[in-house]
Amino acid sequence: MMASSYNAKEEDGHIAAASTHGGAPGVVKSKKPDNTAFKQQRLPAWQPILTAGTVLPAFFVIGLIFIPIGIGLFVSSNNIKEFEIDYTGVDINNPCYSCAKNFSWNNTTPCLCSLPFTLEQPFESNVFMYYGLSNFYQNHRRYVKSRDDSQLNGDRSALKSPSKECEPYRTSEGAPIAPCGAIANSLFNDTLELYHIDINGTRNEIPLVKKGIAWWTDKHVKFRNPGGNDNLTVAFQGTSKPVNWRKPVTELDPADPDNNGFINEDFIVWMRTAALPTFRKLYRIIQKKPNTTPTLPSGKYVLEITYNYPVLSFDGRKRMILSTISWMGGKNPFLGIAYITVGSICFFLGVVLLIIHHKYDTRNTSADIPS
């Protein structure tokens, strides 16, 4: 505010005079505002004016960029091979119909059904095997909350007394449930096996890799077994299994200690709640063969299902999906189409603006190009 703090480039000659005439220079502060661009609101600025003429190029440029991108996306999405089969057993002809009908959570004898299908085209490179659920609201507010991350992270105190969020799946018969909560309780427990039927009719089991399906950070950071991976039974002593589970958490994959307990990858994948009621979750990976033969050659296949998971009660569907992936993920033509559409609309609007511009906007162009 003082005259001395004046912006030097702005007429300082006058300022010196201004500060002296006040009476006692340097003592009496002039209240004269600083003549700076900021304080006088004269900051240099770009002032775009939106008119047909000025906006026009933007529309064309967007159109020209978007349409090729869209086409590229569309093509790459179309190159992805995907196969999907519903094994819910709603239809009476479905081999799994009986399993679906006679279901209860407490069945001890597993219900098995097998579903034959044919792949028209061979699947190259790694094939991802998903199970898909429909109408399953994994994103329900109370469902999403119903977990205890500390417990899953191997925290012993949380193991003994899980978070209140897990209610009503917090304790069972006096013992804390491990893992607690509704998400864990409703773990997808169908087992899927895939057999290739070669020309002779023999069934070759296709090796399914069950590790590497979860996020690396989930597997190694977020989920941990209490007390490390050795001797899980001791670690989980004093806890009870979730109500709907048939076997305790320590027996999810008894063969592989690195895939057992909380760090079981199927479990981890399930615990990552899906965003939408129709979703798929990665189940297994079929690794590419080292030789040139396709991972899944075209031909007949049989899907063997251990049918444990009831979905009919809420009108859900279960699917098995085989898919290859590209750099942009799974098969989804939408994005390509969207790009093409938006690009075309832009182009069209650009034309409209061009017409408007030519009809009504002559003076602006002349005004914009000052002589």
Partner: protein, 1499 residues
């Protein structure tokens, strides 16, 4: 009064101060003050004064302990805060809980703490300034020390004796008991209280008056009874009870108020009556006002709508959830988790809980940060307004003050301006212009030239000032001031007690200047003729005195001249001071004499006449005082009897005066002593340094005028006035009485004894109406009487002339009283003076008795110059669509003339004058004028003017085209049923006087009055009282539902300023009351232009856009979650992490919009000022109309649909998890919102770029940190490593490009189309901004040609209509031609249109009338769309007049001048009156393609 008993704890430290003794007679209505000194040894409880507040002031609101509860309590007065706290608390209920309760509390706590910190800081500042004030020093009499000791202000108690020295500030309200001044006076300056810089006299209490020695507090035994503390600065009543039981009354003249400064008085002693918070100054100190702006009111409506939308959305979700649950029946699916207790919830219960949950989830829809953001933006706006150099007045070193912080945007929406005249439109610098003496007019041509020159100098200076230059003519002033600055520097500190710092500073700087003493007012060039006469006269008188001839032999004309100037000099209350000794009273005292008090005194004193002159004892004040105090030496007696007066006086005289002087005093004729500074040079040198402190500028002007004729006032004492006359030297007039000015009498008189003639003479000065009636009817019998008669009639003539020139007129008259008459009158007068009851009335009557049968001496014309730039400001404000009403207390003629001068009224337009004597007459008048208006302007189609000549004639006399057909935003401002049909504003002026106004404001007539008034272009209310002013404002504001601004500078404008939506005070010369009451204080009227047109416009459009954007932003964000409810079973789940959800508004998207809301400029300041029409944008609330809210909501929903469904389809049926899917949506929403803001941002400075970059990087930084910080925290989302993975996903980037684009495509396209097809006026202005500076200047100067600058010669018309018409000044016609120039159609039709009516109008107008152009502009309006095309052709084939201007620029310029800045183009056509002139206009329009014919018809 609650304070009465409040005992400050801090008073304990009041060490030496005494509060003792019992006597607990504590009446309810009065306060009793005893001297503390009496109770030294007793206990504190016994001091009767202990119950009164001490002098420690505490303006802070909080203490450390009370801060938190009190501040929270205050904040919860705001409904929004309660709402947000309620929602945050709702989160603690487990069933409905949506977020982590602690997290949900965060934003509310944040908002509350921001406000709390702000309050705390403000309070701390107050605390600091309190402390500073509390620790100032003053002298308090200590009983122990038996002398005055220094104490802090805070330790001063009621009942203390304090000694005040010159230039000291009063620490409390003090009753004056003694003064070193020989007249027992103390002078105070009240600038900090009311801003008046002239000195005011305060009198020592009568009973202590006679005391001629130092006041001894130890001897004081009286008690004071007075009223309880109140805030009336002008009232103080009470009495003092002496020990002997005698009572003496106390008046406000005895009271010195806290905050005032002692001047001219070496020492004064008083007793503290009110201290600290009970002082009148503190009680007057009100906090800033809280007003709610129109925009905010509108916003609150939309907030209400938001609440409804919120409830609807919640209800919808709740019902959806109920149905969703219902469809599963009894079989609960695994994902429908039971309640924590394991019980099953029925769908209905579940839906109910969900409803509450959804309120929490959707709470963002009611923008919590909106209120805070608005406050921040407004503070920034206020800051920028403060910083504007154009609103800074170099002369007073003051800039605009915003006193109300929250109505800046109202400045952009004003529709009516109510202005005071004097001091607001005019400078309130009264300049003597001309006079008439004894029927002879002295035109003072040289003086007029001088004034004209000042005007020029002013305008040059204006340029200098804008560059921060110094004013050449102030150099002399500043050199005089330097001494004073030092003297006062210490006093400036304390000013802030009564007002803000800024005000105090301002006041202190103001006080450097003597009021009413600018060089322009001081340096009057005398009329040579009159000067000769004065010289002649005085030399004759000198001669006569020398030869002891009776003065009556003087020719009557000459004696009138000298009397006239003597009257000018002494008939006032001007105090003389010398600048070297700041405010030191100049004392030329000849003898000690008080005004006549008793008859005996009169008889005693009216012994042979005395003639005194300057020679022997023009001792200076200081020597006098020393001699006096030496006299006092031995005197220590306490005298209080009035009879002692005369004896003492005599004693004093004898002691002091040398024998010669005594002789001199009583000898009838004196040889003229050789005056030391007799000749003109020397005396003028001396005089030049005298300063006149006048209460009113008129008085000062007259005294300065008289001084120019060498009749200078050199000293004034209560009983004597000293005047220096040429040849005669110093004459002292014994002042017998002063009958002060009052507004009912409208005059003032002094009764003096003329030293030369020894006659008792009454000089009266007053308004012409008041004086002329009192003139003695001349006796036509003798020559003298005839002469008198002639003088009266001539003077009356000149008075009329003066009034017509807009001068303020005053008549000067005198009356010679014989001793008998005087004695007779005196008797009555003394009775009146001593009367207990009805003293005022008696004195008034007494004055009336005296002021009769006057002899007219002459009259003066004083010019109250218009402030710089007033006509231009009014013109451009009016162009901006503002209705300007002037409400003044001045008389009709003066007011009308000033109105003409400032272009408020137009000589072209007709003026309706309403002067009525009764209610009925007023009703009739209103009825008639209403009818008249209707006939004239609406249905006078019957008289199509056949003859151009007559029509031109008609136009001249009483006929004007409709002025402006724009009707202020009724559509927007009054959605109520009171919507009136659009009314037109005609070229009519309405003048109404106060009496008629009183009738018109009656309930029964106010509607009609409004109807008449609002169809007039200008309204002038004269002779209106402050109350009427406020009633008019209230009436217009309430009935017309318009935004009103009142501007004024004086105390009489305060009520009007308070009533209006926005009150503006001019911090001019008339004090601070108006400023104190105002929302904005301006140094000059002309600054109003920039304040309204630029800052008002900006503030409004910025804030309106920001509010709209806020609504959009929140709706858009919330709608994302709403759409998600369809995919999560209406469970209230949110895919957006709760952290993002809660901080999105508060952090991620907050800064860019704050920057835009603070800095965005839709149009540059220059263009806004040059195209005032752009202001209508705000008047009509164009930026924020109710439908815009809904449009924005629709857009928000569309955009959120895009932002939701593009990711939805992109991730449909994939293995994406909830938050990996939600995070891109958040990002997209952020991008969309920012780009949306970008589209709406008009100016991009580096701050905008920075803020947007900052926002985005903040979001990603926070997201990355948050997602990497803790793998197990942040239940339930637990977004560990989500963003990190997303950033590796090409799909994310593809979405980020596509979605914002798709979402904003419609808006962008719409904006582009709008910019081309139907640009708003503002966009036109912006386009103008875009042009390079030179081109723009050219175009605007083109537009300005109509404001009277000479047109480029090439543009001179070659059209035939010139030959048809009277020759017109080229300026106007060319301007006209130029306006119409680019359109070939107008080329011809203008001829037709202008020939009969327009041409002459223009020619008569000569200069610069913007309104002439209005009709022509209007009638071209409908063609605006095709104007460019036409102009293109035109510029091609016509001789392009200005080669520097390309066709495009021309077309643009045409487009600007004729653009439909008035948005309601249609109403323009409808409202055109079908009378002759405009019929032609209409016709030319309808026959656009057949110009020949229109020309034909018109001719």
């Amino acid at each position: 009064m609650a304070r009465e008993t409040a005992e400050e704890p801090g008073s304990a430290e009041t060490a030496k101060v005494k509060r003792q003794r019992k006597e607990k007679t504590k009446e309810n209505k009065t306060r009793t003050v005893h001297a503390n000194i009496l109770y030294e040894k007793a206990k504190g409880e016994e001091n009767p004064n202990r119950l009164y507040a001490d002098n420690k002031i505490k303006t802070t609101k909080y203490t450390l302990l009370s801060f938190l509860p009190k501040n929270l309590f205050e904040q919860f007065h705001r409904f929004a805060n309660v709402y947000f706290v309620f929602i945050a608390l709702l989160n603690f209920v487990p069933v409905v809980k949506a977020f982590q309760p602690e997290l949900a509390l965060a934003p509310v706590v944040f908002i509350l703490s921001v406000t709390a910190i702000k309050d705390l800081w403000e309070d701390y500042r107050r605390h600091r300034s309190d402390k500073e004030i509390n620790h100032m020093d003053c002298l308090v009499y200590g009983r122990v020390e038996r002398r005055y000791v220094e104490q802090y202000w805070k330790d001063v108690r009621v009942g203390d004796f304090i000694r005040l020295r010159c230039n000291e500030i009063l620490p409390a309200d003090v009753l004056l008991l003694s003064s070193s001044d020989p007249d027992r006076l103390a002078h105070i300056e009240t600038a900090t209280l009311d801003g008046e810089t002239n000195l005011k006299q305060r009198q020592v209490l009568r009973c202590f008056y006679d005391l001629d020695c130092d006041f001894d507090p130890m001897k004081y035994r009286s008690t004071i009874e007075c009223e309880k503390p109140n805030n009336d600065l002008n009232r103080f009543r009470g009495y003092i009870i002496h020990r002997n039981g005698r009572r003496d009354a106390l008046y406000k003249e005895n009271l010195l108020l806290r905050g005032c400064t002692i001047r001219n008085t070496e020492e004064a002693v008083g007793i503290v009556i009110y201290a600290g918070h009970e002082t009148k100054a503190m009680l007057n100190n009100n906090g800033p006002r809280y007003k709610r702006s129109k925009l905010e009111r509108q916003m609150n409506v939309d907030v209400f709508w938001c609440v409804i939308i919120l409830l609807v959305m919640c209800l919808f979700t709740a019902v959806g959830h109920g149905l969703w649950m219902f469809q599963y029946g009894d079989k609960r699916p695994v994902f429908d988790v039971l309640s924590p207790e394991g019980t099953d919830l029925s769908p209905i219960m579940s839906a109910t809980y969900l409803f509450l949950t959804m309120i929490i989830v959707f709470q963002v829809l009611i923008p919590i940060s909106l209120f805070v953001s608005i406050e921040i933006v407004k503070i920034c706006q206020v800051y920028f307004i403060h910083q504007d150099m154009d609103l800074y007045d170099e002369e007073t070193d003051s800039h605009l003050q915003c006193r109300a912080l929250n109505i800046t945007e109202d400045l952009g929406q004003m529709q009516y301006i109510f202005s005071d005249k004097t001091g607001t439109l005019t400078e309130n610098k009264m300049v003597f212009r001309r006079c008439t003496v004894a029927g002879v007019e002295y035109s003072h041509d040289a003086n007029a030239k001088r004034l004209a020159m000042y005007q020029e100098v002013d305008s040059e200076e204006e340029e200098c000032t804008s560059h921060g230059g110094t004013l050449p003519r102030r150099d002399s002033v500043s050199s005089q001031q330097s001494a004073r600055v030092v003297l006062r520097s210490h006093s400036t500190k304390s000013h802030r007690r009564t007002g803000s710092r800024a005000e105090a500073k301002r006041a202190s700087i103001l006080s450097k200047h003597t009021a009413f003493s600018s060089p322009m007012e001081k340096d009057i060039t005398p009329d040579p003729q009159l000067l000769d006469k004065v010289n002649e006269c005085s030399s004759q008188m000198d001669f006569m005195r020398f030869h002891s001839q009776p003065m009556s032999t003087l020719p009557s004309e000459l004696s009138d001249v000298i009397d006239f100037f003597i009257a000018l000099t002494i008939c006032n209350t001007v105090v003389v001071s010398s600048p070297n000794q700041p405010r030191q009273k100049v004392r030329v005292r000849f003898e000690l004499k008080s005004p006549v008090k008793t008859i005996e005194d009169f008889i005693k004193r009216f012994t042979p006449s005395r003639l005194t002159s300057s020679g022997s004892n023009n001792s200076s004040s200081s020597s006098l005082i020393t001699s006096r105090s030496s006299n006092r030496g031995g005197c220590s007696s306490f005298l209080s009897s009035p009879s002692a007066d005369s004896t003492l006086t005599k004693l004093d005289e004898e002691q002091r005066g040398p024998p010669g002087s005594l002789e001199q005093a009583f000898s009838p004729v004196q040889p003229p002593p050789p005056p030391p500074c007799y000749d003109g040079k020397a005396s003028s040198l001396e005089e030049g340094e005298l300063r006149y402190e006048a209460e009113s500028p008129d008085e000062a002007a007259l005294v300065y005028a008289a001084r120019a004729y060498k009749c200078s006032l050199v000293g004034r004492l209560p009983d004597q006035v000293t005047v220096e006359l040429p040849h005669l030297g110093k004459l002292s007039f014994e002042l017998l009485h002063t009958l002060g000015f009052d507004s009912t009498r409208k005059r003032m008189s002094v009764v003096v004894r003329h030293p030369l003639t020894d006659q008792i003479t009454v000089y009266t000065k007053g308004a012409d109406s008041a004086i002329m009636d009192l003139i003695k009817p001349p006796d036509t019998g003798n020559s003298k009487g005839k002469r008198q008669k002639k003088i009266v009639s001539r003077t009356q003539n000149y008075l009329n002339l003066y009034a017509a020139d807009g001068l303020r007129t005053l008549c000067i008259a005198k009356k010679i009283l014989s001793k008998e008459q005087y004695a007779c009158w005196l008797q009555h007068h003394l009775q009146a003076e001593t009367a207990i009851q009805g003293r005022e009335e008696l004195l008034f009557e007494s004055a009336l008795r005296l002021e009769t049968n006057l002899q007219l001496l002459g009259a003066t014309g004083i010019e109250d110059r218009l402030q710089d730039g007033v006509p231009e400001t009014i013109e451009s404000l009016r162009k901006a669509g503002l209705q300007i009403w002037v409400l003044t207390g001045d008389k009709q003629e003066t007011a009308v003339n000033v109105a003409y001068a400032c272009k408020l009224l137009d000589p072209e337009e007709e003026i309706l004058t309403l002067n009525a004597d009764s209610q009925e007459a007023c009703a009739l008048l209103l009825e008639e004028s209403l009818h008249y208006i209707q006939v004239k302007f609406l249905c006078s189609s019957s008289s199509p003017s056949a003859d151009p000549a007559t029509s031109a004639q008609a136009f001249h006399t009483d006929y004007a085209p409709p002025f402006e057909l724009y009707h202020p935003s009724h559509s927007s401002s009054s959605s109520s049923s009171s919507y009136a049909p659009p009314f037109t504003v005609h070229r009519l002026g309405l003048v109404i006087d106060g009496r008629t106004l009183a009738y018109a404001l009656d309930k029964s007539l106010e509607e009609k009055f409004l109807l008449v008034a609002r169809s007039c272009r200008a309204v002038l209310c004269c002779r209106s009282t402050p109350l009427q002013k406020s009633m008019v404002v209230k009436l217009v504001r309430n009935k017309l539902k318009v935004m009103t601004l009142a501007i004024g500078d004086g105390a009489n404008d305060v009520s009007m300023i308070q009533v209006a939506d926005v009150g503006v005070g001019i911090s001019g010369q008339e004090g601070m009351q108006a400023v104190m009451a105002s929302d904005f204080a301006l140094p000059r009227f002309s600054y109003l232009q920039k304040l309204l047109l630029v800052h008002g416009h900006w503030c409004y459009s910025r804030l309106a856009n920001m509010i709209l954007f806020f609504f959009y932003k929140n709706a858009m964000f919330v709608a994302l979650i709403f759409w998600y409810q369809f995919y999560c079973g209406f469970s209230g789940s949110a895919m957006i992490d709760q952290w993002y959800l809660i901080f999105f508004n508060l952090m991620f998207s907050a800064f860019p919009q704050l920057i835009t809301g603070t800095l965005d400029k839709d149009v540059s300041a220059e263009t806004l000022q040059q195209l005032p029409q752009l202001y209508m944008n705000g008047q009509n609330s164009e930026e924020y109309k109710p439908y815009m809210f809904w449009m924005n909501m629709m857009d928000a929903f569309y955009q959120s649909l895009v932002c939701f469904f593009i990711p939805y389809f992109a991730y449909a049926d994939s293995d994406v998890d909830l938050f990996t899917w939600g995070t891109p949506i958040t990002t997209l929403a952020l991008f969309t919102i920012l780009v949306h803001l970008g589209i709406e941002t008009k100016t991009w400075t580096w701050m905008n770029w920075l803020s947007i970059t900052f926002s985005i990087s903040l979001f990603f930084t926070v997201a990355l940190c948050y997602n990497a910080s803790c793998p197990t925290c942040y239940s339930p989302s637990n977004p560990y490593w989500t963003v990190q993975r997303l950033l590796q996903d090409p799909l994310f980037y593809l979405l980020c490009v596509l979605t914002p684009l798709a979402a904003l495509l419609p808006r962008y396209f719409y904006r582009a189309c709008q910019g081309t097809l139907f640009p708003s006026p503002v966009q036109v202005g912006r386009r103008l901004d875009k042009l390079p500076a030179e081109t723009r200047r050219n175009i605007l100067s083109l537009g300005r040609v109509k404001v009277g600058s000479p047109p480029p010669p090439a543009l001179s018309p070659k059209t035939p209509f010139l030959s048809v018409n009277k020759p017109s000044p080229p300026g106007c016609n060319t301007s006209k031609e130029q306006r119409s120039f680019p359109s070939p159609r107008s080329h011809t039709h203008k001829q037709g249109q202008s020939s009969p009516a327009q041409g002459p109008t223009d020619s008569d107008k000569g200069l610069s009338d913007p309104y002439t152009s209005a009709p022509s502009d209007i009638d071209t309006l409908p063609y605006t769309k095709d104007a460019p095309k036409l102009s293109g052709e035109k510029s091609k084939d016509s001789a392009c007049p200005d080669q520097t201007l390309e066709a495009s620029e021309l077309s643009l310029s045409s487009w600007i001048t004729s653009t439909p800045l008035l948005t309601q183009t249609d109403s323009v056509q409808i409202n055109l009156p079908p009378d002759g002139h405009s019929a032609c206009v209409t016709y030319s329009r309808s026959t656009e393609d057949r110009p020949e014919r229109s020309l034909h018809t018109a001719l």
